[in-house]
Symmetry: C2
């Protein structure tokens, strides 16, 4: 076990840390300080915000440390600075707990969520060992043949300081959108690693929303507001590089679903998410 | 427009009707009467319960009549009889509202949900017309070559009165599980129609959870408890028969995700859902 007295916290762990400030009745409140390093475009990254909420839930449910599922509705754009996470446990018994949690800044609701927490390793150890996996990990060239997000133009990086938080190596066949030549397929895949920590179920919440929206690959750049995002954490990830894949199969009626999968270095599908988002307005 | 004064309500509409009983502060309460006709196995069908909650939300948000997204955690098994839906609006502005809603029976929380409501037809009319659909509708033989759920053995139908609520015609290649010969693929597809009503976004909540769990097709019969279920309503469905498909791509770690798609008679993908469930215990 790591010696927490001497091991410095990773950047992500520092930036999602929360402090209990109030507990009474059925609601508990945790203070957070949203870090400017996770800004991308007009607000803070949705996956980072989810990890902040997830961090408060973990602190509130010490014997059930892992997110198993979390669903979120994004209500308004967050800004760096003080925030509160308000947790209401809805059920806690056996190996799982269900809780509602909201992220507030002053009088503004940023994010409302519904989550299931448990101990992923323990859940798995005591469960039916049957396996059947037809999902396939994304086929990615070796990392030195992929395109680092740090190659993005300076103008882009200036509005997306989040890109400095991790190594993101994009499939070389899927970066044409950056120069006005999207593939039109609506899919992205990449290698991913936080600079200074190994993945765990909580950090995967950030990973599940780290890539650009697939609409960029469809020739529809611009803001694609998320209506709803649900994450399923399927396993404790092995250390090492992750492979991440985004795809949409039904872009229609002004909306699109975006399915994300995260695969670990052992070749396991460790997290899945699906979001429903609105298409950017035509230009 | 139908003359609601003389058109009798459909069975589903009768069984999901709610009555406002209290409204104060930020919470409103609606009374419901859960109908025994929707029992399947040890409790009421999860899709029916979601439609009951959805019915209260529709009544509470008159200018935003359609579910667009709803995520649910099932906390305890519901029983026929009195229930309450408690609604807390979290955000209501522009074309969308976000609300939390819970289904209670006495002191027991049955179901907690987070939903986005709007007017689907209006949302679509004012949106980016770009379309790209790579999802494919399930390939089903003609209806008279499929296997009606009403052919199930009497012993099965006795514990699943829900099967009398709709026409469900299963793909003939996927019914082997009923005689101990599952295909092992983990997929189901079927024709679906409620007896006495055309589909609408609310009724689709029931349709998204009407088929048996794909675990039956994997040779794992038994109760597969749902941890979380999220539905996305993508379009107002056309009248007529629906095609429904369930599939799982990652059965591992004691859990499986089940993706459901509902296609309407016009060949449109009108609803998607994903649930995370635990595998049945080994026998």
């Amino acid at each position: 076990m790591a010696d927490t007295a001497t091991t410095p916290l990773s950047e992500l762990d520092r930036d999602i840390a929360v402090t209990a400030v109030a507990s009474g009745g059925e609601e508990a409140t945790y203070a957070a300080d949203l870090a400017p390093g996770w800004v991308v475009g007009g607000g803070l990254n949705g996956g980072y915000l989810l990890a902040v909420v997830g961090s408060a839930l973990r602190q509130h449910l010490p014997d059930k440390p892992d997110p198993v599922t979390i669903s979120a509705s994004y209500c308004s754009a967050s800004v760096p600075g003080r925030a509160e996470v308000r947790v209401r446990v809805r059920r806690n018994g056996g190996s799982l707990a269900t809780a509602a949690a909201e992220l507030w800044q002053g009088e503004e609701l940023r994010l409302t969520t519904l989550a299931t927490y448990g101990d992923l390793a323990r859940l798995q150890a005591g469960s039916n060992p049957f396996e059947r996996v037809s999902a396939a990990a994304p086929e990615l060239p070796p990392r030195d043949s992929c395109v680092p997000a740090s190659f993005a133009p300076e103008g882009f990086k200036r509005v997306a300081p989040m890109l400095d938080r991790f190594d993101l190596l994009l499939h070389p066949d899927q970066v044409g959108w950056a120069v006005g030549e999207p593939t039109g397929r609506g899919a992205f895949s990449a290698w991913f690693r936080h600079h200074d920590r190994e993945p765990d179920p909580l950090s995967l919440l950030q990973v599940l929303d780290a890539l650009p929206p697939v609409t960029y690959d469809l020739g529809l750049p611009g803001w694609a507001p998320t209506l709803e995002l649900t994450c399923h954490l399927r396993r404790v990830p092995a250390p090492g590089w992750l492979r991440v894949q985004h795809v949409s199969r039904n872009v229609a009626g002004g909306m699109f679903e975006e399915d994300c999968e995260v695969w670990d270095s052992a070749g396991r599908l460790v997290a899945q998410s699906r979001q429903l988002a609105r298409l950017p307005r035509p230009r």
